[in-house]
């Protein structure tokens, strides 16, 4: 009894077969995507190994256009593909016509090296269990007060193939190794804030070092949040860690640049292309073509080649991301920018691939050596409104720097408007830190933020 063998080539064959079947059943245009993944992992709970998992699955998605009407269906059972095509055709028949619907033509392929490493693909449960054991032991050796609520170590490989009636035919193979920890520090009656740490890579060799970094990062975050005191209410400077910079500042800025939101009148970034929308310290580049990186890939959700693009230079907005539909809707002369996003179970959306923020010129030591009270936002847990730009939320595992002293705080809220925050950034650190084994971000300081302490 052996497992069925899945390869990028036979996935592409299945996509071709489905594409032809859909055209025979009456589709005007069709795009078929297949995604297969297999992984071996161990999960932790309550500071102990909980479960070992050996898994694999293939999912197929079909986008059909009939009389300029759109239908989409997905399944994880190839033998039921005819029913899936009927679902997509029925949805298209019930839908409204839209002249913008269509599929992109094929473009020349690009090659991105280092996305697949056989050593990661061939890892078994025993190897990930041993790594998991090391991760648990390392955390406990650093400090027994640190408690792991959940976590995992896993490795695997995946393939993706796309075939369309316009001639797009592509496939790719990738591998991954990852680790993740979630928990808190507990000391007597004092329970610290949640912390998350993780790391990842394309290859297994050398991953023990990343396990070690993950354990150290997790312990530093959880222990730093113990015994917090009261904060302070003021309006002024706030310092964001690389993790908070990535999630609150860059993440929300990129979200506002989604062309679908702009088209629907739901983004304050409409008509802002080639305008200054952030402080001159901000330069953002999307580059998913860097070899060997976890977020790199050769083609997007529509099989279009990835490319490097400058999003923002010195605060000036230079480009927006597009998939085929949004490029047609926005009359973009060059068409799609290779930034269609999503998996096999959904229609293509739009997203940046792998965004880097340029480091600044201020040392972290200088940023911490402040004369005015400054809250350090380690993690932001709150609400952001992509339509109005308003944000408000709790500073998690934060600190107050005041009078040369840095101490942990609790029950502190920050609020303001993201559009102001982007412009009010007045310092960016030289130092950068990788977020979960992915892109590295700097520390960022902004002024004019409302801080409310409980």
């Amino acid at each position: 009894m052996t497992d069925p063998i899945v390869s990028p080539e036979n996935l592409l064959d299945q996509c071709d077969e489905t594409r032809d079947m859909a055209l025979k059943m009456g589709a005007d245009e069709v795009e078929v995507i297949a995604a297969w993944g297999t992984s071996q992992s161990v999960e932790f709970e309550k500071n102990d190994l909980q479960l070992a998992i050996s898994d694999d699955e293939t999912v197929y998605g079909v986008r059909i256009i009939k009389d300029k009407r759109l239908g989409f269906a997905s399944t994880n059972d190839f033998s039921s593909m005819k029913d899936t095509l009927r679902d997509a055709l029925s949805l298209a028949a019930a839908s409204l016509p839209d002249e913008l619907h269509g599929l992109p033509a094929p473009q020349p392929r690009i090659q991105v090296d280092g996305l697949f490493h056989a050593d990661a693909a061939e890892v078994g449960v025993k190897e990930v269990t041993d790594l998991g054991g090391k991760l648990l032991a390392q955390v406990k050796a650093i400090d027994p007060r640190v408690s792991i609520d959940s976590g995992s170590v896993g490795a695997g490989r995946g393939a993706r193939a796309i075939s369309s009636s316009t001639g797009v035919r592509c496939h790719t193979l990738g591998s991954h190794v990852s680790c993740y920890l979630f928990g808190m520090a507990v000391e007597g009656d004092d329970v610290g804030s949640f912390a998350v740490a993780g790391n990842g890579a394309r290859m297994f060799a050398g991953f023990e070092d990343k396990i070690d970094l993950c354990a150290r990062d997790f312990c530093a975050k959880t222990l730093g949040a113990l015994r917090p005191g009261k904060g302070k209410s003021y309006k002024g400077e706030v310092l964001f860690t690389p993790e908070a910079t990535s999630s609150l500042i860059v993440g929300n800025l990129l979200g506002m640049l989604n062309p679908a939101s702009i088209r629907k009148g739901k983004s304050p970034m409409a008509d802002k292309l080639h305008e200054v929308v952030a402080a001159s310290l901000i330069t953002l580049i999307d580059d998913p073509t860097v070899p060997g990186e976890l977020d790199s890939s050769e083609f997007d959700r529509e099989g279009q080649p990835r490319r490097k693009q400058t999003i923002m230079e010195n605060g000036k907005l230079l480009s927006l991301p597009y998939n085929h539909y949004e490029a047609v809707a926005a009359h973009v002369s060059g068409g799609t920018t290779g930034q269609a996003a999503g998996g096999a179970e959904s229609l293509p959306g739009v997203s940046f691939g792998r965004v880097q923020m340029s480091a600044g010129t201020d040392s972290l030591e200088d940023l911490l050596n402040t004369t005015s009270p400054t809250i350090i936002v380690t993690r932001f847990s709150g609400s952001t409104n992509g339509v109005t730009g308003e944000f408000s939320g709790v500073v998690k595992a934060g600190f107050l720097v005041e009078g040369g002293e840095k101490r942990p705080i609790t029950e502190v809220l920050i609020s303001g408007n993201l559009l102001d925050l982007f412009r009010d950034i007045d310092a960016v650190s030289v130092e950068t830190e990788s977020i979960f084994g992915r892109v590295a971000y700097p520390w960022v300081r902004a002024h004019g933020v409302s801080v409310t302490a409980g």
Binding site: L51, S74, D83, A88, L91, S147, E345, V387, E411, L413
Partner: protein, 467 residues
């Protein structure tokens, strides 16, 4: 379908040794989204397969297969057993056996699913299209609107080697309306949503559709002119929607037994006072007090009958939420809280319908008794910490002054430490609503849950502007 698969699962389980749990899930998710007069998405997602969990050499092994034939399931069992054996040496606290439990047998189909099946795709799309059009027509200041209808139709079968042998079908429809208003270049947005376990009568009971349209448009317009509140400590009345968020996020998660064992703030607090006498908090697989709660389920994903768990009784912490493994650890009965989202997810401890029991005040009495404060309704999002510290963003907040409801304010977030806030509860209304049925809870995998309760008056920290 699930009943047929159940027979196959039973046949496969009977050939195995040791503890084996087979769980079939066949899920069809339908969704239509209309925005600004366009059909933005129309999709059907079908996903089915069998999840296999085994207890081997004192630890768990898990595998799954998207194929539902005997050979594929047997192969998945072997992979799960191999995985367990390969990892057993690293487990410190091995599991010797699971406690006996009331394991379900038989079929438990929800008959309402058949009624929604009879409604055509055209009708569902028309519903979204017309509702979106009506929302835009509410006012010239509404510049954009959207409406989404979705449903998850799930069939499950669970068979274990120690006696569970059951199948059921659950239908969960949802409906969402969003309005975007604009004035002088300023945008504002308001959302209304509902989600139930049940049929369309349950989803759209009363005049809900029309109210969602008018409320979304009205709030989006009113928020254009609204001021931000000053930040600081405040007396507030939490509407059932915010009470639901509070009891789910800030208390419910801290009493999930796996999290308790990791050291959550609820550890060691059974029998201690964590709220005022007015606070009685429960989690139930049934739709208590009002019909259609979104997390309703007859059987959990370990095959255990669901039941009501009283977590806090008149202010005293009385119970955690358990699966079979944690129940064995704490020496109590499982509460039916083991849940898995898809066949490829393993069952973990999750909430179902979490709520605060109603009291005997009225909302008018509660407002009349306040000199200064806020009425908070319409959750936008929320998170809580291991410490019970929570943060919720609120869409609709009204100032209360001298016993009267005043104007809407915007950009409100509230925060506090859950057990501390529960101690400040001084009034609870008799009116009760389920409000979070369109929400999903995340804990590594999604879960459909619901939460709600009465109106509750208490003290919290409000985020806002500082001079």
């Amino acid at each position: 379908m699930a009943a047929e698969i159940r027979k196959l699962l039973k046949q496969v389980v009977d050939q195995q040794t040791g503890f084996v749990e087979l769980r079939y899930s066949g899920k069809t998710s339908r969704s239509v989204v209309v925005e600004k007069g366009k059909v933005e998405a129309a999709s059907v997602k079908r996903r089915c397969g069998v999840g296999v969990r085994v207890l081997e050499q004192g630890t768990w092994g898990f595998s799954s297969t998207g194929a539902t034939d005997e050979a594929s399931i047997t192969r998945a069992i072997k992979r799960a057993k191999d995985a367990a054996r390969a990892s057993a040496g690293q487990r410190q606290a091995s599991i010797s056996t699971l406690p006996p439990a009331a394991l379900a047998q038989g079929d438990f189909d929800d008959p309402s699913a058949v009624e929604v099946d009879a409604i055509s795709l055209d009708e569902k799309l028309d519903l979204a299209r017309i509702t979106e059009e009506r929302t835009r027509a509410e006012s010239p200041r509404i510049t954009s609107a959207s409406c989404a209808y979705s449903e998850i139709d799930e069939r499950k079968a669970i068979v274990t080697s120690d006696g569970a042998d059951t199948s059921f079908r659950i239908l969960r429809p949802e409906f969402r309306v969003q309005a975007v208003a604009e004035s002088k270049g300023i945008l504002s947005v308001a959302n209304e949503s509902i989600g139930v376990t049940g049929n369309w009568d349950c989803l759209f009971r009363g005049d809900r559709k029309s109210k969602m349209v008018s409320d979304a448009a009205k709030f989006a317009i009113d928020l254009l002119e609204a001021e931000k509140p000053a930040g600081g400590r405040a007396t507030v009345i939490l509407a059932p929607s915010i009470v639901g968020l509070l009891v789910h996020e800030a208390i419910g998660h801290t009493v999930e037994a796996d999290f308790v064992q990791s050291g959550s703030v609820a550890q060691g607090k059974i029998g201690q006072r964590v709220g005022s006498d007015l606070v009685t908090l429960c989690d139930s697989g049934f739709s208590e007090y009002a019909g259609g709660a979104g997390g309703t389920m007859p059987i959990d994903d370990e095959g255990v009958y669901t039941k009501r768990a009283t977590i806090i009784d008149k202010g005293i912490l009385t119970s955690y939420l358990h699966n079979r493994e944690s129940a064995a650890h704490f020496g109590v009965e499982p509460t039916g809280n083991a849940r898995a989202w898809d066949f490829c997810d393993q069952p973990i401890i999750r909430m179902r319908n979490t709520y605060l029991e109603p009291g005997d005040s009225t909302l008018d009495q509660m407002i009349a008794g306040m000199q200064d404060g806020y009425l908070l309704d319409g959750p936008k999002n929320g998170q809580a910490d291991a410490t019970g510290e929570f943060m919720f963003a609120v869409q609709n907040a009204w100032r209360i002054k001298n016993g009267k409801r005043g104007p809407l304010v915007k950009g409100v977030t509230l925060s506090g430490v859950a057990f501390d806030v529960m101690q400040t509860v001084d009034a609870v209304s008799s009116e009760f609503r389920w409000e979070l049925g369109s929400g999903y809870c995340g804990k590594g995998q999604p879960a459909k849950v619901d939460a709600g309760g009465p109106y509750v008056r208490c003290q919290v920290l409000l985020g806002g502007t500082q001079e």
